[in-house]
Structure formats: C-alpha cells, structure tokens
C-alpha cells in the first residue's frame, strides 16, 4: 500500500467503507430472510449482496486484511452461483451467508485473530451447497435482441434477462432522455415508479449529443404487465417503449409484446448499427424534456467524517462557550460602569454572539447524531442467530428506529443490547414446545421500542417469555454468597430483580458464542452507567420481562446546574435534575438509618454530598439549605447543598487517567475563569447511596 498521508486516508476510508458494507450486507440478508419466508427470491438483493462482498474482497486484499479477503472470496463464489441461478436460495444457504457476514465483522476488527473463523470448514460447507445445474437452452437466441446490446451486458444482467424471458415475462426497451446533472435522481424516480411490478435489467447510455447537457438512456425492463400499464406507471409520455419480440413472428407468445409502437420502430437501431441508438435523431432531441424540476443530487450529498474530527470541533465549541461566559461577565461590568450606550451595545453584540454560538453547538451535536436503526439492525442479526442456536422462534418488532443518539453512544450500546437480547432468548423465552403447552403462540415476540424523552433516549426491550421469579433470584444470590439470607429477605420485589445486575450473579451459561467473553448483566449495567444512563428491569412471571435503558442523547455538551458544597463549586447535568428547592429543616426524618424528607406526600431519600465525598468543613457551621432532586431511570435522590449558583452549558472533560476511577464524578469543566468544577455522575451517586454500600467515596485529593 502507498505510504504517507494519502495511504492513511485510504486506510481510514477502507475501514469506514468496510464497516458500512458489512452493515449493509447484514441488512440485505435480513431482507432476504423475510422474503424467503414469503416465498420470494429477491434477485436484486442477491446481486447487491454479491456486489458488496465482491467490493469487500477487493478492498481487503489491497489493504492487507488477508483473512477477510479469503473469507469474502468464499462467500463471493457462493453469491455468484446464487445470482446466476446455479444454486437455489434456501434457508440453509441463508444460514451460511449469515455466518459468513458475521465472521467479516470479527475479521475486520481483529485481522490477526486466526481463530476468528474456521475458513476450511466454512469453505467445505459452501461447496456442499453448490450443486451446479446443467446448462439449459439459450433462450436469448429466440428473441430479437441487438447483439451489440448483448455485448455490453454483464454475466449477471444476461442471466436476469434469460431468466425473465424463460419465465414468460415480457422484456421492454425503454428509451428516455434525461438531463445529465439530475440523471441520478431522475432514474431513481423511474425506478421507484416501476419497482413493484418490473425489474430493471440494465441501463445503457446512448452516444448521441456527446457534450450536451442531456443523454438518452436505454433500459431493459422485464414485467408481467401489458405495455399500457407500464406506460401509465412510467408517466413519461415522451419516452419510447417497445417490447423485445420473438424471432418467429408466428409464435403467439408473448401476447402483450406483439405490437411495437411506431416511435420505437423508427428509433430502433438495426443490428448493423454499432450498438444502441447512435443516431443524433432530431425528433428525439426535440421530444426531450429533461427533469429540470429535480435538482437534488443524492449520491453526492453525504460526507463521511471521522468522529475524532467532530470531537475536536466540539472541544473548540466548548472553549468558545467558556470564552463567551467570560465575555458575559465583562459585559456586565461594562454595563455597570461605562456610559449607558456603550454597555447596551456590548450587551446586544454579546446576545447575538450567544445566539449564533448556540446554533453552532446544535449543529455540531446534530452531525454526531445517528438513528438507532443502525444499532437495531445489529440486534436483528444477533437475535436471528441466537434464536436458531436455541431452536426457538422469535419475532422481532421494532418501533422508533428513527430515534437519534450520539454516534459514540450508539457504538457503546451495541454490546449491552446484544447481551440483553441473548439473555432474553437464553433465559426468558421458553422452548417452543413449552410455549404451546402454556397456551402461548409458538413464535415468541421481542419488542424493541425507542423514543426520546426530554434530553434522554429510552430504549425498551420486552419479551413475552416466562418472566423472572424473584424467589429464584433470592435463592441464587444467597447460594452464590452475594447476599446474606437476612439481607436477601429484606429486599423488595423490585430490588430483587435488580440483583441480576450485580457482579458475579450471571450464571455460567452466559459464556456464549456471541461474546465469547462470558460477561453478564453486570457489565451491561456498568457500560450503561458509564454513559450516564440507567437500566431498569420489570418482570412478571409467565408474562414476560422488560428491560428499560435510559440514556442521555449526547455526552459532549450539557446544560448543568451549579451549586456549592463546603465552599466548593460542583455541577450536575440539568437533564437529571427534577427540581431544586429550599430544604425545610423541620421535615427531615430518619428512616432505617437513612435521612429522608417528605416531599408532597412521597418520601425522598437524602444524600449529604459533604459526607459522601468526605469534604473537610472549611467553613464552620455551613448549612445545607437546599435540596436538588435528581432522577435517573425510576430512582430519585435529594442532594443537600449549601448554595445554588445558576445554570450553564458546560463541556465535560475527562479527569485524566489517575482519577477516572473516582466514582460519583464523571469529569471536570472549566467555567472560563480558571475555576475547575467537578461534574457529578448522577447515576453512580444514586447507585452508591441507595444501595448504601459501606465504603464512602473519597474525594480528598481530587479538587
């Protein structure tokens, strides 16, 4: 590979494009899977798959991903046989395809991992599928097809032409003139109009008017519909449409094709003309009405960007926010001291700056957003695989796939989601025969629902399986020594369900093919908490289980509430703040050794941050006069603080390696006046306080 900057860029392009290719392949396979269940074959999707794998093979060879290259070569051969009709699509073939595409992912992320796939046994299975069909009579010679046209068809296109003719469909030649600058969208439109009842076999550009602004494209379309219907659907009166005829005119088949329009006859090239409509036919040019109303060029409007570049941009925007805050203070001083006019002008300029900065910030955040559908596609693949392993039938229902989250969050969510899905199939969904006995439908349903709720995204995964029995959990937790009999007995039903997220609870069976690492639900919880989110579980015996993940939409810039404890400034994401109110000293109570306050009829547990972080009392007799009510998922906690200091947009920065382990703190921010402010991690504080672990968090050296 070429060295240097170009080489690096090419390599990054390779990784990004391969990732995209693999995701598209998975999606296409799912499409084929559902089509096959309805008895459809989807030749175009098979061809898309072939093209994708073909590209992947070429790329991986050039970029030194040899194992990936070999694997894709094997799969390419299989797809080649499939698309050329040499082998038939079947569930068995589909399984092999799924397996192959799944191995691509592993080989791309760990190119050196020889154990990532067993190429030999895979190849053997692929070969056992390939049973070449004997060659058949060449139907193409029965039709009046321009040899020059046949000469430019790829093998696949020729195969599709032959198959369609063999199956008695009529093949039409459609000629249409399109403006060059909108040709992509114009053709997409045409495709869209005919896609439900005609297959477009090929597109051939004609030669006339080289250098002009429009070009004539000839298409071959195969359909069962008569010419009139095709013409109506195309909605292009200027286009010329003619059926490809059989050589012997006496032959009654195909009926719809026997009438050729005079226009088409006039324009049809003879076999002697060098391929296609070559003549610069004046009447054709006059008839042309290029699609001037369409000006979108969809193919060129997408730019792929490295997320690190966006991170950098985000940091700069964050710094700008800090500068703005300093500017705001300056403006205030100016307004207080300077002549009125100057102060107001500075104020006005600052306001405009603030508004535009907010737009830039929103813009950068928006670029980072991706729809959850990318993630859900992966879930669908995993679900299919696990269900087959377990011989269970599971239907996947997805809603809200268009909901958007930060790209980084979507990436980090992939593993947790995978484990939840696997758990649902492994433990939640009953074996097929059992489902029948208890009167449930044989096919289980896994519902994935996503929606936005304020600054958060909620993802719910529900199954209609056997549910979780809290008693079984209690016994298991005691048996594994995670809880004493006494402690386990005291837990509520909801608390018992949450025990499955404790480290060490997951059963040995969680060591699976999927992860190969044997991680359990505790890792799911850790990963989601690290993202500032929460995971909750609800379950009803024999009805099903629902896991709810709540996540912030973005990690980068947040609105925060600033407050003081023992003279130190802290920040907490506004997204978790339900309200902040004056602490009524008399309302404090003590329940089970825990301070609580009754708030509008409900009991709110309290946390004194000064104690939690063991902050030394620098100002004697400080009074925690306010309580900030925070919620994460369905848990609430009141934080006792001394002073509220307003809200501000902040950029959270990591604490550096040495401090990343400090629980309860997610990072630090600089407010623009050299003041370092620690940002609280609401989820982990709630976790610590409500589960009342013995060791308090220590923050002595951190600030």
């Amino acid at each position: 590979m070429a060295q240097g900057k170009d080489g690096d860029r090419a390599r990054e392009e390779f990784l990004a494009e391969s990732q995209e290719l693999i995701e598209t392949l998975s999606r296409d396979l799912l499409l084929l899977d559902s089509a096959l269940k309805l008895g459809h074959r989807n030749p175009e999707t098979v061809n898309d798959l072939f093209r994708g794998v073909h590209t992947l093979k070429g790329l991986s060879g050039m970029f030194g991903f040899d194992a990936l290259g070999r694997m894709s070569h094997v799969l390419e051969d299989l797809l080649e046989n499939l698309r050329l009709g040499r082998i038939e699509m079947s569930q068995q073939v589909l399984d092999v395809l799924f397996e192959g595409v799944e191995s691509f992912q592993r080989l791309l992320s760990e190119p050196g991992d020889a154990a990532a796939c067993d190429l030999e046994s895979f190849t053997e299975r692929v070969h056992s599928l390939a049973r070449a069909k004997s060659a058949t009579h060449n139907v193409l010679s029965d039709y009046e097809l321009d040899p020059n046209m046949l000469g430019v068809l790829t093998e696949y296109e020729e195969h599709r032409l032959r198959t369609n003719l063999e199956q008695g469909l009529t093949v039409f030649r459609l000629r249409v003139r399109l403006a060059l600058d909108v040709i992509d969208t114009a053709l997409d439109q045409l495709k869209e109009r005919v896609k439900n009842f005609a297959e477009i076999i090929t597109y051939l550009p004609s030669m006339d008017g080289g250098g002009g602004d429009s070009i004539e494209i000839e298409m071959l379309l195969a359909t069962k519909k008569p010419e009139s219907e095709l013409r109506a659907a195309l909605n292009r009166p200027e286009a010329s449409l003619s059926a490809v005829l059989r050589r012997r005119l006496a032959d009654p088949q195909p009926s719809a094709a026997t009438k050729q329009s005079p226009v088409a006859q006039a324009a049809a090239p003879t076999a002697a003309t060098p391929s296609l409509p070559v003549r610069s036919d004046q009447s054709l040019v006059k008839r042309a009405t290029p699609d001037v109303e369409v000006s979108l060029r969809s193919l060129t409007s997408v730019v792929r960007v490295d997320i690190r570049k966006l991170d950098h941009l985000m940091n700069v925007v964050g710094e700008l926010g800090t500068v703005r805050a300093a500017l705001a203070r300056l403006v205030e001083r100016l307004r207080a001291g300077a002549p009125h006019a100057l102060g107001s002008e500075a104020h006005r300029i600052h306001r405009a700056f603030q508004r535009h900065l907010a737009e830039v910030q929103d813009g950068v955040l928006d670029i980072r957003m991706v729809p959850l559908s990318q993630l859900f596609d992966k879930v669908a693949v995993i679900l299919r695989q696990v269900a087959r392993e377990q011989r269970k039938e599971v239907r996947l229902v997805i809603t809200g796939a268009e909901t958007e989250v930060d790209k980084l969050i979507a990436e980090e969510l992939a593993d947790p989601m995978m484990h939840i899905v696997r758990n649902a199939v492994d433990h939640g969904i009953e074996p097929t025969d059992l489902r029948g006995q208890v009167g449930k439908s044989v096919a289980a349903t896994l519902t994935v629902n996503a929606y936005q709720k304020g600054n958060h995204v909620v993802i719910e995964l529900s199954d209609d399986g056997r549910g979780i029995d809290p008693h079984v959990i209690r016994e298991a937790a005691v048996r594994k020594g995670l809880l004493t009999e006494q402690a386990a007995g005291d837990l509520s039903r909801e608390e018992l369900l949450n025990v499955i997220f404790m480290p060490g609870f997951s059963t040995a069976r969680a060591v699976t093919d999927i992860s190969g690492r044997g991680v359990g639900m505790d890792v799911v919880k850790t990963n989601i908490t690290r993202l500032g989110g929460a995971v909750d579980i609800e379950s009803e015996i024999s009805v099903g289980t629902k896991v709810t993940i709540t996540l912030p939409i973005t990690l980068a810039i947040i609105s925060a509430l600033l407050f003081e404890v023992r003279g130190r400034l802290f920040a907490i994401p506004l997204a978790v703040v339900q309200e902040a109110l004056r602490l009524p000293g008399t309302a404090l109570r003590n329940v089970d050794g825990r301070e609580v306050v009754t708030l509008r009829g409900t009991t709110l547990p309290l946390c004194r941050l000064a104690q939690l972080f063991r902050l030394q009392d620098t100002r004697q007799a400080a009074h925690e006069n306010f309580v900030i009510v925070i919620t994460v998922g369905n848990r609430r906690l009141g934080l006792c603080v001394e002073r509220l200091c307003g809200q501000q947009d902040i950029v959270i920065k990591g604490l550096g390696r040495s401090l990343t382990q400090v629980q309860g703190i997610s990072g630090a921010t600089d407010l623009g006046d050299q003041q370092l402010v620690l940002v609280l991690d609401a989820a982990s504080i709630i976790e610590e306080v409500l589960l009342a672990r013995a060791n308090p968090l220590v923050l002595g050296a951190a600030s």
Partner: protein, 127 residues
C-alpha cells in the same frame, strides 16, 4: 502532467488507487463515483488514462466502455479495467469492447504501475 480519471463506486478503492498513482509520479487524479458521474465529466474534460471498475450499479463498466469508445473525446484514451478473477467472461467482453488492459483486484502498487505502462503502450500501438 498525466490526467487520470478513476471510475469506481467504492470510495476506498478510489482512495487506494489515488494514493498509489500519486506515489508513482506527478498525476492529476479525478474521481467519478458512478457511471453517471463519468457521463457528466467525460464529454467536458480530456484525460490521458481512464481506470474503470466493471462491477458498478446502474450503468456497468462494460456499458461505460462501449460509450467511451464511441465518444469523440475518449475514443483512443488508454483504458484500464479493474475487475476480479470471478468475472472472467466480463473481463474478456471488456477487452472486446475496447479496453486496453485489465488488473485484477486486489493488486499492488507495482502491478498497477505495470498495467498502466502496458495499456499506454497497447493504445499507442492501436492508434
């Protein structure tokens, strides 16, 4: 300076070829991401070398070669096909239609250099 047009729907392949070309000698490299892109740029600009992928959606490489060889502007421009060994039939068709040489993916920089010098010679002899 040689002007080269790469016609391939894979941006990674284009980036790879571009990097390889630019490491060889001073070349001005243009890219077309589809047959349509190529149709737009070909009549308007002159190129000294065309590198065409056969397997592209919509207008395929063969159709594009047929178009290019009938066009006034690039009738004789050296044309190199990029394909894989899977499509031997398509490759031989490309040669019949007027390609000057082919290169099978995956390929090394050296192979690309050799193929380019090969097609330049081949088209020179043909003219």
């Amino acid at each position: 300076m040689q002007r080269v047009l790469i016609i391939d729907d894979s941006s990674a392949t284009r980036a790879y070829i571009r990097a390889a070309l630019e490491s060889m000698s001073e070349m001005q490299v243009s890219e077309a991401a589809s047959g349509f892109d190529a149709l737009r740029v070909l009549p308007r600009e002159r190129f000294d070398l065309l590198i065409v992928d056969i397997n592209m959606p919509n207008i395929n490489g063969l159709e594009l070669i047929s178009f290019i060889r009938r066009s006034e502007t690039h009738r004789e421009t050296p044309l190199l096909i990029i394909s894989t060994e899977a499509s031997e039939r398509d490759r031989s068709r490309a040669m019949t239609l007027g390609a000057n040489g082919y290169l099978a993916k995956p390929f090394t920089v050296e192979a690309l250099a050799a193929a380019i010098s090969g097609v330049s010679k081949a088209s020179g002899e043909g003219a």
